[in-house]
């Protein structure tokens, strides 16, 4: 009996491992930046070239940094959700306009709505490198001390908002 049972047990174990491995998303690479201070940057604002935004301006509040671009198709998926979130006024969302052109970016915001308190223009993607951006859209939750508490890769979904992001923001607000 064990003669037939052992191969079966081994087979089931292999299947379980393969099932776990195949359902993992290889694009979700855990960021080493979580629980580390958010890289400080100073960049021109998208809407007003003359104004500079510094990430230090946001010290003392819990905020979200959403990396987006007009060329990014997946950004359109999550955008209505961000617009809705900003309308509810739960958390200030700042936009990092990543490797984009100003005109098309502004046009895009006009067309799909602008959920951002301020959009910052990262035309050559250097701030993106500091934040370890590799797949737009990406969303960071940054706490009052300026520490990255969460990084979401890919479009934000209702589920990720309800299950993770909003409870985290509530907790960080204290």
């Amino acid at each position: 009996m064990t003669r037939f049972l052992m191969p079966l047990v081994i087979f089931v174990i292999v299947v379980i491992f393969l099932a776990i491995g195949l359902t993992l998303n290889p694009r979700q690479v855990p960021s080493p930046l979580v629980d580390k201070p958010a890289p400080v940057f100073q960049l021109q604002q998208l809407h007003d070239n003359d104004k500079v935004f510094s990430s230090n301006d946001n010290l003392g509040k819990v905020w979200m940094l959403n990396v987006w671009a007009s060329w990014c198709v997946a950004c359109r998926d999550e955008h209505p959700l961000l617009v809705e979130l900003s309308r509810l006024g739960i958390v200030p969302i700042f936009g990092l306009n990543y490797k984009d052109q100003r005109d098309t970016a502004l046009q895009w915001l006009k067309q799909f709505g602008d959920p951002y308190v301020i959009s910052i223009a990262d035309a050559d993607g250097r701030v993106g490198i500091d934040y370890g951006v590799y797949g737009v859209p990406e969303t960071y939750v940054i706490d009052k001390e300026g520490i990255i508490r969460y990084k979401h890769i890919g479009p934000v979904t209702v589920k990720s908002l309800e299950d993770t992001i909003l409870p985290l923001i509530n907790e960080l607000r204290g």
Partner: protein, 172 residues
């Protein structure tokens, strides 16, 4: 019926034609990409490519930073080039990238507590195999040694021998 099947053939032909057209369009967009910068300094370029060869591109995960044509890899190659021009060592640049993208950018994972299973797992499996083999062989040997013939088996053998003797007599 014949007409119908003809129609189907045409539609599949059309479909493959469309697929080919789509592929061609994508290949054109590849050509339309900016030509990569030709480095002014071939020595630096070689050093950069040497380092980038051992770093994984996070966008095209089966390509190295040196080999990938993605925008992301282009940017990081530029970053590495600039840091090399600023006299940073290879280790410093690698540390810079690991701090941002994690150990995942390294093709050669470092030895640390979270990667022990990765490094030693194969040896554990090997040891397990050797132990199983030794235990199995020992058990088999002791079974072979401790199993003298029963009376019944002895009688069976004797009767078989008799039969074969008789057969021999007959054929002789």
């Amino acid at each position: 019926m014949v007409n119908l099947s003809n129609l189907q053939i045409i539609s599949t032909r059309n479909r493959s034609a469309i697929a080919i057209m789509v592929l061609l369009i994508f290949s054109l967009s590849c050509l339309a990409n900016e030509a990569p910068l030709v480095a002014e300094d071939p020595v630096l370029e070689k050093r950069m490519l040497n380092l980038a060869e051992n770093l994984r591109c996070l966008v095209c995960q089966n390509e190295s930073l040196a080999g990938s044509r993605s925008d992301f890899a282009n940017d990081l190659r530029r970053e590495i080039r600039e840091q090399m021009q600023a006299n940073k060592s290879d280790d410093e640049i690698t540390a810079f990238l690991v701090a941002r993208y994690g150990d995942f950018v390294l093709y050669d994972p470092p030895m640390k507590s979270t990667t022990w299973l990765l490094w030693f797992g194969p040896f554990i499996f090997f040891l397990g195999g050797v132990v199983t083999l030794i235990v199995y062989l020992k058990r088999r040997r002791s079974q072979l040694q401790n199993s003298p013939l029963t009376d019944h088996q002895r009688r069976q053998i004797e009767s078989l021998m008799e039969v074969s003797d008789k057969n021999k007599d007959q054929s002789a």
